[in-house]
Amino acid sequence: MLMQEFGDKVSPTVFEKVGVKERHISDTAQPGSLLALQAAEKLFAEHSIERNEIDALIYCSFHHDYIIPSTSCVLQHKLGLNENIATYDLTFGCSGYVYALSLAKSIIQSLGFKKVMLLTSTALTKFIHPHDHASRIIFGDAGSATLVGQEENTEKGIRDFVFGTDGSGFEKIIIRHGADSKKVSEESLLEKKDEYGNVYSDAHLFMDGQGVLTFTMKKIPVLIDDTLRKNNLSKSDIDLFVLHQANNFMNEQVRKIAGIEKEKFYSHIENYGNTVQASIPIALKAAIAEGKIKSGSKIFVAGFGVGLSWCATVINF
């Protein structure tokens, strides 16, 4: 569809390098959190998980139903979870899933929770201008639901994390108007064009593609090395690297710089696009289904992007 729509503006080579053949677009009339809600209901149904077993709920997204209250409170009610649970909103983008894993691990260890439900959702396509070709061919909407629990006497588990933040790059991926610093006004919708003809406004997503690529190439190979060192592991110990699925071109640069074999570097973007916070859990589920993640596998996960923010760990499956 996009190849036909953008046929005169975007070369087939570009589609091939980005690696996205199809992606899902959510209903603009619905809140972004609906995708997280639907994913949670699916998790309950498919895995016979009892709602009253959940001790805490983490909702990781930049889609909030209201200015106040927290969306995790709204979701607690909609999902029929117990009243005596803790709820957390985490407003992160592409680093969000791994950040949320660190919070889940931390509250299990420090607060004695047994089962933490971790939800993500992205409906970023709502905020992409119809004539922003560069972003439209990359992003897709999605939600995910993960249950993080604790088992005694096992090698399985989430290992040590490495984090990074560079707020000086906050404008590299941004929707400028609509939150507290600037409300949406007529001015917000004034169309601007970048040097490649992509159209955006202050109420739409703006992404400095070159800036984000440079950030990723500089920081993520170092993040990979630092995280392996922190966990006393080497690249050869890792069975599969599941990075945030930004786009195939960018991830391939990271793979080359980091010196990771193609066979160990998972790509799962073709049928989903870049699904921001949801990309890693979607990829993990697919890799499990394909038999690339088995019991005993050591899996490297890393999220990186908007913030700028980055985070990685290793999971023993």
Binding site: T13, K17, A134, L213, T214
Partner: protein, 74 residues
């Protein structure tokens, strides 16, 4: 690296361009296939192959293949 070697390297990553299609004075933004992806390809090539960071501002100031060549470390 000579400019001929540099051009050959650029042509190998600009997949829509035939070998021999670029010259030092080619204004790369006038190429039919020029797009934001090609700008990313240049930024990535410099970082991965030439170990040089090219910023958006530096790239904006370049018009010809020769200008890009000048960004290589001396």
């Amino acid at each position: 690296m000579t400019i001929e070697e540099f051009i050959s390297r650029i042509e190998s990553v600009f997949e829509d361009e035939q070998p021999g299609s670029l010259q030092p004075d080619t204004e790369f933004r006038n190429l039919e296939s020029w797009s934001s992806m090609y700008a990313l390809i240049i930024v990535a090539l410099f970082e991965t192959d030439f170990k040089t960071t090219v910023t958006g501002d530096q790239l904006r100031k370049c018009n010809t293949v020769q200008d890009l060549y000048q960004l290589l470390p001396k």
